[in-house]
């Protein structure tokens, strides 16, 4: 590569770095990270994408870029573990590889590896533990009963194979506490204390669980399914665990709560108004995802607000149900393309935003504008969970 070519690339990179400094949007940060990758500076790409994902945890583009760079960093490790598994399969290498995919968010790949591990080493608890962890995380993200139940099933299987597995005992105890089934939680925590008597975090959780059992009694373990469904319907845990280590507390949550957070409607209206400058806009509506109430709208052309509202609600409901039935978690966003143009649906915390554009406007342009709006919309919701 020639001197001038290099100089040109260096200047373009500096320009991008300045852009990120003066205007650190998800789009700018992701572009800079991608440029670092192109130039082979993977560590720098990782650093900037990590900063980006911390600053904009709801930006899909940023999350995608971060995962891509992280995967590039881990490529060597994935290759060597795959080679080991092919030549000399063993539960540890399988477990490590599945954990890498789990951390990269490629949970289906991780589960595939776990299934392979179970078929080759049926007495290894690793695969059940990893699938249990994956479902534990999903349960905490989406509060879906199915995820919680599968997490418990797998963690219990791991415990059947190794009754002293610390992680399986602790994670299952946490789930039991969160759904309000305290006796099995206390039992698991006591079991940990038998081989780790100085673990203050576990002791504290056990004391808190036993105090709650004494205070309010508890549902029997036979009612687990019902307890999980209650959490899903309420969109809230029955008990929440707060605090670090020896400061851990169990806080019972009384009564059902339909909404996950308070929405600053003024801020949402301000953000939706910004869309009026978007090229090709026909209409935009932001609504409270839980109540269906319209918070803000910007109708520009040929469509009635009430009609668009009805269509959005139907499509959201059917899409969300489809996602749940396919076992891929809740609906996040959708882009519907047709001769009319594009209908974008985007869910941010408790807000559902729908934007209809004409057929002259590219979906990517609208998507980019919407992604820039995500951090502000997320900030407009103060989470209670």
């Amino acid at each position: 590569m020639g001197f001038f070519e290099n100089l040109k690339k260096k200047r373009a990179l500096q320009k991008l770095e300045h852009q990120v400094e003066s205007n650190p949007t998800p789009s700018n940060m992701a572009t800079l990270s991608e440029r670092y990758v192109q130039m082979g500076q993977i560590d720098k790409a990782f650093e900037i994408s990590q900063q980006g994902v911390e600053a904009f945890p709801n930006s899909e583009k940023m999350i995608r870029t971060f995962k891509y760079v992280k995967k590039l960093q881990l490529q060597g490790k994935i290759r060597s573990l795959t080679e080991i598994i092919q030549k000399n399969p063993n539960p540890t290498s399988y477990g490590q590889l599945a954990m890498i995919y789990k951390d990269l968010g490629e949970t289906h790949k991780a589960v595939e590896i776990c299934n392979d591990l179970t078929s080759k080493f049926p007495l290894s608890e690793n695969s059940y533990l990893i699938i249990g962890e994956i479902r534990y995380q999903r349960f905490h993200e989406d509060l879906l009963a199915k995820d919680g139940q599968i997490a418990i099933e797998n963690l219990e299987k791991a415990l059947e194979l190794n009754e002293s597995n610390y992680k399986a005992l602790l994670l299952s105890a946490e789930i039991y506490i969160e759904i309000g089934s305290l006796p099995p939680a206390a039992k698991n925590l006591n079991q940990i204390l038998e081989f780790a008597p100085t673990d203050e975090r576990v002791r504290r959780l056990k004391d808190e669980s036993e105090a709650l059992i004494a205070e309010q009694g508890s549902e029997s373990a036979d009612d687990l399914e019902w307890l999980f469904i209650q959490v899903e319907n309420r969109r809230q845990f029955t008990n929440i665990i707060r605090g670090m280590d020896a400061e851990k507390m169990i806080i019972p949550i009384a009564g059902p709560s339909k909404s996950q957070g308070d929405i600053n409607e003024e801020e949402v209206r301000r953000q939706v108004n910004k869309l009026s400058k978007m090229p090709g806009l026909i209409g935009a509506i932001a609504m409270n995802k839980n109540t269906g109430a319209i918070i803000a709208d910007r109708i520009v052309l040929r469509v009635k607000k009430e009609d668009l509202d009805g269509v959005i609600k139907t499509i959201y409901r059917i899409s969300h149900n489809a996602c749940l039935r396919m076992d891929v978690g809740g609906f996040m966003n959708g882009i519907i393309q047709g001769p009319f143009g594009h209908l974008h649906l985007l869910q941010v915390e408790g807000i559902l935003l729908a934007v209809l554009t004409d057929n002259q406007t590219k979906a990517e342009i609208t998507d980019r504008s919407l992604q820039e709006l995500v951090p502000a919309l997320a900030n407009a919701v103060s989470l209670r969970r």
Binding site: E60, R64, K67, Y68, L104, G105, E106, T107, H108, K109, V111, E112, N115, R138, E141, D142, V303, K304, D307, L308, G310, V311, T314, I315, I318, S319, A322, C323, R325, M326, V328, G329, G330, F331, M332, N333, G334, I335, I336, Q337, G338, P339, F340, L343
Partner: protein, 117 residues
């Protein structure tokens, strides 16, 4: 058709693909081990029918493509004339490349269908 689906499934993060009619009849399917063909066809057919109805109610007519992103996966439903091509992927993938593959596959399927007609 199987060949086309096989090629699609080779893409990074693709968990399976199928060709299904609006009323849920499977024309061809190549789903991953964790996905049940009939279940996916029933769910997708419901999404297609109800989405079409909703769009038609405000005179937006039918859709040609629906990209649906969930917390742990994505689904692309592509109109191919008399049926729909459905591709299920992992969530983490960049869809840009996969979408080009899907468009190419849709074109091939439509061309073959015309020849067979």
């Amino acid at each position: 058709m199987q060949e086309i689906l096989q090629r699609l499934n080779r893409g990074l993060g693709v968990r399976g693909s199928m060709i299904v009619t609006v009323d849920g009849i499977i024309v061809s399917s190549l789903m991953g081990q964790d996905l049940d063909d009939n279940r996916v066809a029933a769910i997708v057919s419901n999404v297609i029918q109800r989405t079409q109805e909703a769009l038609e109610s405000i005179e937006l007519r039918k859709f040609s493509q629906y990209i649906l992103t969930a917390v742990h996966g994505k689904m692309v439903i592509q109109d191919i004339g008399n049926a729909f091509l459905v591709v299920i992927t992992d969530k983490g993938i960049n869809l840009d490349h996969t979408l080009i593959e899907i468009k190419g596959a849709a074109f091939k399927i439509q061309s073959r269908a015309k020849i067979e007609d």
